[in-house]
Point group: C2
Chain length 318, copies 2
């Protein structure tokens, strides 16, 4: 198993990435080898400092870095020797089986869409966030920002992608799917929600349980919650800011720590043909370690083959 990792992405690269690799290998008896893209002059001394086993990592030297604020499409086109562009090239050509970066999110999305491409039949790849439930479990909300305007069929596809991810990677058996809405009954909500409900209800590939409201996200009503990316992004950032508010006020509680999204690592781009994981810019060691674990799970569970099978024939049907 070969997992690609961008060493230049994120606010604390490459040191926190190397610390994350160290954490990953110290906590797991992993079958994975890591293919690291980045500046070897910066990376190699850190690999030595943290005693990373030489047979577990391989550095592919790259000479450019896409900064956090560069225009994604332009940067990817002009910086073909960047750690992100090379990372995608390695994934696209089968030299690696997954690619992870905490760098420029836009460039990661563009790379995922154009070098890796959507699974046939998937209209809109999507990103998700984990939501900590009051009972200790986790839920998944998607889309959280890359599809600000959606049609009902897009949300229906998010439900399938989210369910497969929840089942095969999060280990939730027959995940319950809820439609994010502003009322309990069918027929409530905006035009999009009204149009989506019947599609979800008729979708035999998912376990649809009805609407979930803003008050239900932290309860254990549904495992997978679908919405367009505008509402989803507001939910994600508001949940992050709750945590920040409690921290700034000095409010401490172990349950609140579960709202520290840094711990969860990154989000996979669901619906593209190979595992691509995007991390938060502020990722520290634990986030990197968790992202590598996530890539490992996505490869080991063969999630992508399952997703491809689920969407077979849908491309023609559109």
């Amino acid at each position: 198993m070969i997992i690609g990792l961008d060493m230049m992405g994120g606010d604390f690269a490459p040191r926190e990435a190397v610390k994350g690799i160290h954490l990953y290998f110290s906590e797991t008896d992993s079958p994975a080898t890591l293919l690291l893209t980045g500046d070897e002059a910066q990376i190699n001394p850190l690999l030595q400092e943290f005693n990373i086993p030489a047979d577990k990592v391989k550095v592919v030297h790259t000479t450019q870095v896409i900064d956090m604020h560069e225009h994604p499409t332009k940067a990817l086109k002009e910086k073909q020797h960047s750690s992100i562009a090379v990372g995608f090239h390695l994934l696209a050509t089968g030299k690696s089986e997954a690619f992870i970066s905490a760098g420029n999110t836009g460039a990661m999305l563009v790379g995922a869409m154009y070098s890796i491409k959507a699974i046939e039949g998937v209209q809109r790849p999507t990103i998700s966030t984990l939501i900590p439930k009051n009972n200790g479990k986790m839920g998944l909300i998607l889309d959280v920002g890359i599809n600000a305007d959606c049609k009902p069929e897009h949300l229906n596809q998010f439900a399938i992608l989210g369910s497969l991810y929840a089942e095969h990677v999060l280990g939730i058996h027959q995940p319950r799917v809820g439609l994010v809405n502003i009322g309990e009954e069918e027929g409530k909500g905006n035009i999009l929600a009204q149009g989506t409900y019947p599609l979800l209800k008729e979708n035999a590939a998912i376990n649809f349980i009805g609407n979930v409201e803003g008050r239900d996200f932290f309860t254990d009503k549904a495992d997978v919650m679908v919405c367009e990316g505008f509402t989803g992004n507001v939910i994600l950032k508001m949940a992050e800011s709750f945590y920040e508010m409690t921290q700034s006020k000095g409010i401490q509680h172990e349950h609140l720590d579960r709202f520290n999204f840094e711990n969860y690592g990154g989000t996979p781009v669901l619906g593209v043909a190979k595992p691509v994981i995007i991390g938060h810019g502020i990722s520290h060691a634990k986030a990197f370690s968790n992202m590598i674990r996530l890539a490992e799970k996505m490869i080991a569970s063969d999630l992508l083959s399952t997703m491809k099978s689920s969407f077979e024939g849908k491309a023609q049907a559109q």
Copy 2:
């Protein structure tokens, strides 16, 4: 000053309403007289029990009650002797200057729209919620649920209504208006947000400061935050559930208490021609007292005249 109050609305009516009246008169040296609609057999003994001064309240006996789950339009039409229908009649005919109820929200909205009617030029009346800021101030988000699908001009009007309310009732000088969005710069967001931004920017009646993201609601970036009612309702219910989560986990802090929305009483229906205030079904004494104070402020500040002036000429322009 005469304020109408539905005594039969809410889960704990009429006792908590009477306790709220008691609290209101004990805390303020109010110029208001309250016009109470409801069953006098239930109300009068409670007024005695709580020593409510007889010259400060007048009971208008009503024989019907609209339950929380009745169909709003149907109930209002069929129950013309209900405490809500009579309350609206008193307001519409000038017998009272404001009307408050913690009863059936839908019936209150229908009554506001059809017996009181929108201010000329206002396309969509709206409801808002207060949001506690980290620095101790309060912000306002609107719409929070009655306008699930909006056009840019609706959000532009919410900005005006919210600004006038913030300035004249909440006492915020030149309130800063933010557009709820999923990015910082102009041009970000969904089609609605992209269409709304230029309208807000060009609106000389408001103090527009740009986009606010989910992470900015609790910071002091903007005083008035506008969005369609789908996103706004999700924000409101999620904020409520965050408070409930901390309570269920036994997490105590004075700042968290500011998220106890019960304390704030109710929301005015902004954009209708007279002060109408809708309370939460679970309203207790403090909520009722706060709603009476809010009605008093709305009347004393002559908010409605200011709103009417702001929209003068807009009806023709459409």
